[in-house]
């Protein structure tokens, strides 16, 4: 068991990771050296943060548009409050739905309280997937709208994210 990092080292490690993980054969050792710690201590800290949900993984942010995912729809639905948890969980289990959140209504301007993102390469296919989804879950009669993104003005690989909040487009 290695001893845990102290709070100064933890903060320093988080700052270093804001610019991403170094592309080195032993990235955790390189980070450890910069904060005056051992590789094992850094690994243990990252493992702990991951288990606590501070980040999900040491992963990637893709420029999904550059990779051909240009048909990106935000499906918004007006679900009765009493049903929203059940419907949200059901839609969230659909493989095509990458993100599914409840958000507040803002009446009278905005009535929709359930948001699902569906990303794809072809618009017609995404539309058909969503139609099928609504049908299977008997939601076609409820008010809903499909908001396709048509242009990305800013997509940066930000330093922070709410769990999985990006990309939306």
């Amino acid at each position: 068991m290695s001893c845990p990092l102290d709070s100064t080292q933890r903060l320093a490690l988080r700052r270093l990771l804001e610019s991403g993980l170094p592309l080195l054969p032993r990235p955790y050792q390189a980070l450890a050296q910069q904060i005056g710690a051992q590789e094992q201590q850094v690994l243990a800290q990252l493992d702990q943060w991951q288990q606590q949900g501070l980040f999900r993984r040491l992963g990637l942010v893709l420029n999904h548009r550059a990779l051909g995912f240009t048909a990106n729809a935000m499906l918004v639905l007006d679900i009765p409050d009493a049903l929203i948890d059940e419907v949200g969980q059901r839609l969230g289990r659909e493989p095509q739905v990458s993100l599914c959140y409840q958000r507040p209504r803002r009446l009278p301007q905005w009535r929709y309280n359930l948001f699902c993102m569906v990303h794809g390469r072809q618009r017609e296919r995404v539309e058909a997937q969503i139609a099928g989804l609504l049908e299977r879950h008997q939601l076609s009669d409820l008010p809903y709208q499909l908001l396709f993104s048509t242009q990305a003005f800013k997509q940066c690989g930000g330093r922070f994210a709410p769990v999985g909040a990006r990309p939306h487009g």
Partner: protein, 147 residues
């Protein structure tokens, strides 16, 4: 982008292993070398195919605040309003969508106060009132783009 690039991207979307020599593990999985994989990844970052490699901290668990917001922007002013948002470091990304609420963006700030302040500045800077739609419940998060 070739087959190895694709497999590397798909594999890294699942996360780099937390072991002393993570690239060795991936090299064995993908039938490549540690050095070659790092070179590939560097190139994909340099050419903009990927925008980041590393952990994304959950700002909400660190005491920060996030929201999804929208504006109803008159067509003639669309580019100008987009430029206002592009200049704000709090704006993580911004998309035009086919809807009367035609501009949708994510705001990330160190605190709820800072977030509300950013929304106020957007309103003052554009004369448009944003819809503020912070998430209330997460049902699913599973971003994965097979390439």
């Amino acid at each position: 982008m070739d087959e190895l690039d694709r497999r590397l991207i798909n594999r890294l979307q699942l996360g780099l292993p937390l072991v002393p020599q993570p690239w060795q593990v991936l090299a064995e999985e993908l039938g490549s070398s540690s050095e070659q994989l790092r070179e590939r990844l560097q190139r994909l970052l340099d050419d903009g195919t990927l925008t980041r490699f590393g952990p994304m901290f959950d700002i909400e668990r660190l005491g920060g605040a996030f929201t999804l917001a929208a504006l109803k922007v008159p067509e003639a002013r669309f580019e100008a309003v987009a430029a206002v948002l592009a200049a704000m470091p709090e704006v993580a990304h911004n998309y035009r969508r086919e809807h009367p609420w035609n501009m949708w963006f994510v705001l990330g700030c160190a605190s709820l106060e800072a977030l509300n302040d950013a929304l106020r500045r957007i309103e003052q800077g554009t004369g448009l009132t944003p819809l503020n739609l912070p998430k209330e419940q997460t049902y699913h998060v599973g971003l994965y783009f097979p390439v």
